[in-house]
Amino acid sequence: MAFKKKKSKLSVDALRENGARALLFACAFVSLITLGLVFIFLLGNAIPFFQANDLWAFLTGKVWSPFSDYPLYGVLPLLMGTILVSLVAAIIAIPIGIGCTVYLSEIADPKVKRILKPVIEVLAGVPSVVYGLFAALVLSNWIFDIFHPVARLNALNGALILSVMMIPILVSVAEEAMNSVPGSLREASLALGATKWETIRMVVIPASLPGIVAAVVLSVGRAVGETMAVIMATGSATQFTISILDSVRPITAALAIDVPESVAGSMQYYSLFAVGLLLFVITFSINLLADFVLARYKEAYN
């Protein structure tokens, strides 16, 4: 009797165990599958474009006008817009971001740290449309007063607001890297008579360099993928230009503006998926690169 009871309890346990396992597996499975769909649907909708158009002409064409009577699908103006805006943003954000990180991690006393860290978290949480609003309404006026550009909304405007948006991710990843440098290294350096700055420059920064590099790479990836702030700040003219005072249309802005205009199944629609695929490939490679640098660095420390 006792044996029987024990057995039935066990099987209820086993049933519950297997049921729970199945439920959890289903959730994992769904998440994995849906995440895999992004590849399939991007690629599936880009293929018809590449069947009808030349890949080389797409990558080197200097005119993007999918909706004209004789549509041209040269992606260079969009690519150039993205590169121009992210590059200038990176040039501004990297020194400020790394400087802020060094101050936060090595110099600031705990009181200042308690203020600075939430400030950076809030900066990261502000939605991109609010940054875009600020760029469109305030920043553009400042730039106009200083540089008198022909286009009121231009690449410089986009780059400046992007640099603000890059800093939180840059600082948080780089700070983590600097924090993981063992304190004993700093103490050893200070004990040998180095000043605090010499210790930071010759011990802490070299030791955390891969983490800092990964932080820079990740933040550039964010800049390349940012959409709303860029649409609202850059003026969205599809021209091929290298002047930061011209209006540009980065890849993400082209997608957000043109996809709602296009008819599903048309060549315009497919061309936009080709552009989306290009963007996906660029950002995914950037993320993989950051992953790779970080993995190497963790290996070195273990």
Binding site: S31, V38, V130, L137, G225, E226, A256, N287
Partner: protein, 285 residues
């Protein structure tokens, strides 16, 4: 140059960088708060956006954008959070450190960095046209769910892995099954981390705009009467106001909506921070 003097100059430069960062936040939030606060009124929260005589939607309030944003967050809460949290627990606890799970985590990590507009493209292709949902609340809700799924999974993974393995081993040694251990020990101990991650992902969903442009926001939509209607959302309304030609009427409304959106998001972030701090005190190992 004197080493000490050089050090002081450099430290001041670094401090300057930190001050610039604080100033950025103060200036941007300052503009929104100062310009938005004056616009707050009962009407703002009780009326839908209405057209003026030129047809620009600059009159009325922002009720339907607020409701739309809340509905989107609810959809993400219902769809993405259970799947993300449970799926992540499965991958960590059952597949552990296997090769397959390592590859999947690499993919998931990288998907967390995929631009939101790419998720929007997936939403259009898969939901709007392939599954025939049309431009709708549900298409946008599922798209946002996919967008935050990797973020939820990564933060859940980190929270679950932070629970020491000795707790797991002790529970199993006392005869508990794997699932009992997960329910009674792993989940409660990692709850704060999971909750923090999910709240942050909800606030992320509230602020996203680009995917909505592709999956179903509409200029003159009011409160949606079903999952398949078009809708309004706060971030889209802000974008709309900057694109309207009637700038003198639109700009104050844009600031007001931005202030409301920021209050929602910063409020949720604060809750996440408080939760994290409280639980940290409760469990220590």
């Amino acid at each position: 140059m004197n080493r000490r003097l050089k050090e002081r100059i450099i430290f001041n430069l670094l401090r300057g960088c930190a001050i610039i960062v604080v100033l950025m936040l103060v200036v941007i939030l300052g503009y929104v708060v100062v310009n938005g606060a004056g616009m707050l009124s009962i009407d703002l929260f009780t009326q839908d956006p209405a057209p003026n005589r030129h047809g620009a939607m600059v009159n009325g309030g922002i009720l339907s954008p607020i409701v739309g944003t809340i509905m989107l967050m609810m959809l993400v809460l219902i769809i993405a959070i259970p799947i993300g949290v449970l799926g992540s627990i499965f991958l960590v606890e059952y597949w552990g450190d296997s090769k397959l799970s390592r590859i999947w985590w690499l993919v998931i990590n990288n998907l967390a960095g995929v631009p939101s507009i790419v998720w929007g493209l997936l939403g259009v292709a898969l939901l709007v046209y392939y599954l025939n949902f049309g431009l709708s609340l549900i298409a946008a809700g599922i798209t946002l769910s996919l967008l935050v799924l990797p973020i939820i999974m990564v933060s859940t993974k980190e929270a679950v892995e932070a629970v020491p393995s000795s707790i797991y081993e002790a529970s199993v040694a006392l005869g508990a099954t794997k699932f009992q251990t997960i329910i009674h020990h792993i989940l409660p101990y990692s709850a704060s981390g999971i909750l923090t991650g999910t709240i942050l992902s909800l606030s992320r969903a509230a602020g996203e705009t680009a995917p909505l442009l592709l999956t179903g926001v509409a200029v003159n939509a009011s409160i949606p009467d079903g999952l398949f209607s078009k809708f309004q959302a706060l971030p889209y309304y802000i974008y709309l106001m900057t694109q309207t030609s009637d700038r003198s009427a639109a700009i104050p409304m844009a600031y007001a909506a931005a202030l409301v959106l920021i209050l929602i998001i910063v409020g949720m972030n604060l809750v996440a921070i408080i939760l994290r701090n409280n639980y940290r005190k409760k469990y220590r190992w």
